[in-house]
């Protein structure tokens, strides 16, 4: 079993969150097309969103987007600048920390929202 290191975890997480976001995108575009059918259809979707299961999903989505987005920016930075390459470990740690902090703050807010 090869040792799993921080960079490799970020690579795996990037894949997983990517797949999660694409799945949501499919669901979201479908939801939007429903919504455009009128107020009743729209409210049905909104009501469904308010169930705990969907809320939980929404929190997870927030986490996925935060990580995927920030980590993606880190990857871009790391591939385009030597400056970032020299500091790739530090930037990786920062990515985890910023994504984590925003996830906790945003996640709580999202969960509490009506």
């Amino acid at each position: 079993m090869y040792k799993i290191r921080a960079d490799m975890i970020s690579w795996i997480l990037h894949k997983i969150t990517g797949f999660a976001i694409v799945s949501f995108l499919i669901f979201h575009i479908w939801g939007m097309s429903q919504m455009s059918k009128g107020p009743d259809a729209f409210n049905a979707v909104i009501e469904a969103y308010k169930t705990p299961l969907f809320k939980f999903g929404e929190v997870l989505l927030l986490g996925a987007i935060l990580f995927h987005g920030l980590n993606g920016m880190r990857i871009i930075l790391g591939e385009f600048t030597r400056w970032a390459m020299d500091r790739h470990r530090l930037l990786l740690v920062l990515t985890y920390m910023i994504a984590g902090t925003l996830f906790i703050i945003g996640g709580i807010a999202l969960w509490r929202a009506e």
């Binding site: 694409v22 939007m32 097309s33 107020p39 920016m73």
Partner: protein
Amino acid sequence: MSSRGSKGWLLQRISGALLFITLGVHFYIYHYFMGPGMWGFESIGYGANDLETLRLMAESDPTQARFYALASLFAAPVWKVFDILFITLGCYHGFYGIVANIEDMVTHPTWRPVLSWLTYFAAFILWVMGVVTVISFNPQLF
């Protein structure tokens, strides 16, 4: 060899960076801007008359206020453009990501292109669905 990767790689990074920005705007608008505050959107391209109609409709049926509020935004031409851009970037970036994963893991000479093209096809369907929804949306119809 016709198969290349540099363009795809670069576009994936550009679309990713743009998505990072557009997603921020999208998220902000739809989650924190939604509600009474958003009635001030005349300034960004929505006709005062149309807005007035929506406001009246919302007042006559308060339970549907949220829908009308969102619809007012959704119907604005600027936001239509924004949403189409957003859908395009999302479909491209997301599905190219899947194609990249297929190329990472599938080496079979037949399955590799078949799976990739199926993914591109699915992306196209989804994109059409999204764009049609955005363009055809007209709250006046309700």
